[in-house]
Amino acid sequence: MTEFLQQLINGVAWGSIYALIALGYTMVYGVLRLINFAHGDVYMVGAMTGFYMTRWLGWGKDPDPLHFVLVLLASMITCGLLGFIIERAAYRPLRKRSKLTALITAIGVSLLLENGGQLIFGADPKFFPTLIENKPIFASGGLIITNIQVIIIVVALVLMVALQWFVFRTSTGRAMRAVAFSHDASRLMGIDIDKVISVTFVVGSMLAAAAGILVGLSNPKIEPLMGLLPGLKAFVAAVLGGIGNIPGAVLGALILGISETMVSGYLSSTYRDAIAFVLLVVILLFKPAGLLGKAVPEKV
């Protein structure tokens, strides 16, 4: 029983990491109906920014929560800027073209970031500095919860609530939903579509940066291709929960994280990645819109 509970904790913590990445995915999709494949790589750039920043500033020798907050903010700003540039340079010129063109461009941007990352950062893995010391904050009867696990779960939930509030309670959020509904009608109502889409990309990329930094804290090995598989898995999680649905992304990510952990713990870790994609296929067979997604008839 203890072992099962420990696996559950491991799974929830691991799922929260997917959740952080999935939130950005789902938001961009919700507004643009574009699967931004480069999202996983923005997450990598977030982690790399944190790594280089701590190294240049000579931090990381003594854990300091203040340094952590500053690194987190700097990385979010950098990636927000990157998201802005990506949208401006790669997606905006193609907005009037078919969905497929944008999708292929997204894959292109993803490859550019991965291979550019290998060129700039080098392909060898780097060790993410210890900004917060990993300590157990709860230990009883063989059950252990560490502070980093709690931080990740809390941050994932806080960001989910904040995002939900942003999309449903602010005027920018209302504009986003309007743009998601119809580009033309929104423009007629005087909404600056370009601005709304830019904001979406900036916020989505900032979320990816936060995920990168938090993964660096809990699993401190980062490399240019680190975004590839988590990016795909987060996409699966977002689809699982109903793509475009914010609480759905978190739910899907938690289910994915827990099932991966349980498969590794009770079956074999070699089946772990297969399970993620089998789950996707099964859920889509029975619930094509995802767990929390609403089936919307295709606009003509």
Partner: protein, 397 residues
């Protein structure tokens, strides 16, 4: 008719002139090359350096290995070249990066052979060596691995050699060390299923450990590149082993040690020579303290041959060499020695010379190549204490 002939005579003469001079030039070249034919492959006339290829993981998951090995080999190259080289020619090390990927190691081997390498050094990782070996065998270019310990490597053909011990010996030694020297009688094994090296080592450890009377409480697997191991470690923790044997590479081992300690595991962690890298200490931090691993050399060994090399390496790179640097230094010198004894840069002759290497005084020990093209050498057990490596034991073959 006549007029026509006169008009055409100029271009004709010109062509004839070109043809004749061309033939003479070709003839001269052929004659010059012919004189040295016994010593040279075509395209490598006397006076040009003898090229030795290095299939190296300069980037990627085992980048530390390739980089260290290359640094060691280059020190050997400079020393030999300073003394006049081999066969009166200088040596040149051509290093090609395989990005720590086995399929890439194969293309790298082809590329180096095409560039005229007369012998190949590499790879460190067994999976990569196994992938590259058939190409070297096919081209009859001897390939010498500095550190691939999986038995299969040299079984790929009679042009494939190594200068290190094998996994059966390494696995056996660590099992004996854990059971006899540390007095621990239960162990869990955590294997990198993507690495031939790790799978082999795990199997040999298990065989010896159970033969000694120990019990294996759990056998779990991970894949190279993973960053999350808590699910498997939680399962292992439930079986309460005294030893956690992780025969993987340094990057994952560091994270595994961390996560094992985060889960409150207290088992002694043991491993193989894939651990040897400064990155292990950086990633593992205090979690890796108190762990033991098998290695090829210990930097605190007082042996003057070792201390001399350490001084040279420090002067060149400002750091203490790891085992791969030592093996890189040894492997280059062994290949150079074989070319010298062969008196030729032809593959079959170098192969013969390599196969008859006897009692070569290497920094990593005295190296003799056996009929299976392997080296039998001492193994050292290293203990990690406060972020430094210490000699904890020595096992003779």
């Amino acid at each position: 008719m006549r007029r026509f002939a006169t008009r055409s005579s100029l271009p004709f003469r010109f062509t004839a002139f070109l043809l004749v001079t061309g033939l003479v030039a070709v003839g001269c070249q052929g004659g010059g090359g012919g004189g040295n034919k016994a010593d040279n492959k075509p395209g490598q006339p006397a006076g040009t350096p003898i090229k030795i290829g290095h299939i190296a993981a300069m980037t990627g998951g085992t980048a530390n290995f390739g980089q260290s090995c290359d640094k060691g080999a280059r020190i050997a190259m400079q020393e030999i070249n300073a003394k006049g080289g081999v066969l009166g020619r200088q040596l040149e090390l051509l290093t090609e990066d395989d990005r720590s990927l086995a399929p890439e190691a194969r293309t790298t081997a082809i590329k180096l052979i095409e560039q005229g390498a007369v012998a190949l050094i590499g790879e460190v990782a067994s999976s990569s060596s196994i992938a590259a070996a058939p190409e070297a065998q096919k081209a009859q270019v001897p390939m010498v691995s500095p550190a691939s310990t999986n038995p299969e490597v040299t079984q790929k053909g009679d042009y494939i050699f190594r200068i290190c011990y094998l996994d059966p010996f390494q696995g056996e030694s660590m099992a004996k060390f854990g059971y006899n020297d540390l007095g621990k009688h239960s162990a869990a094994i955590f294997t990198d299923v993507k690495a031939a090296y790790s799978v082999g080592l795990a199997q040999f450890f298990k065989e010896t450990f159970t033969k000694l009377g120990g019990t294996i409480t759990a056998e779990e697997a991970y894949s190279q590149g993973d960053i999350e191991f808590k699910a498997q470690l939680t399962k292992i923790k439930g079986t309460n082993p005294e030893i956690l044997f992780v025969p993987g590479y340094y990057n994952e081992v560091g994270l595994i040690a961390r996560q094992a300690r985060e889960l409150g595991m207290t088992a002694v962690i043991l491993g193989g020579d894939g651990w040897d890298s400064p990155d292990l200490l950086e990633i593992g931090g205090s979690a890796i303290d108190g762990a033991y691993f098998a290695n090829h050399y210990a930097s605190d060994d007082p042996n003057p041959v070792i201390q001399d090399f350490i001084a040279k390496y420090k002067a060149a790179h400002g750091e203490v060499p790891d085992a791969m640097a030592v093996l890189g230094y040894d492997v280059f010198r062994i290949v150079a020695d074989a070319i010298g004894r062969a008196g030729s840069t032809e593959g079959p002759k170098i192969r013969e010379a390599l196969a008859t290497t006897r009692d070569f005084p290497g920094v990593s020990g005295t190296i003799t190549i056996d009929p299976e093209r392997n080296a039998s050498k001492d193994l050292v057990v290293i203990k990690i204490e406060n972020g430094t490596l210490h000699l904890a034991g020595r096992v003779k073959p």
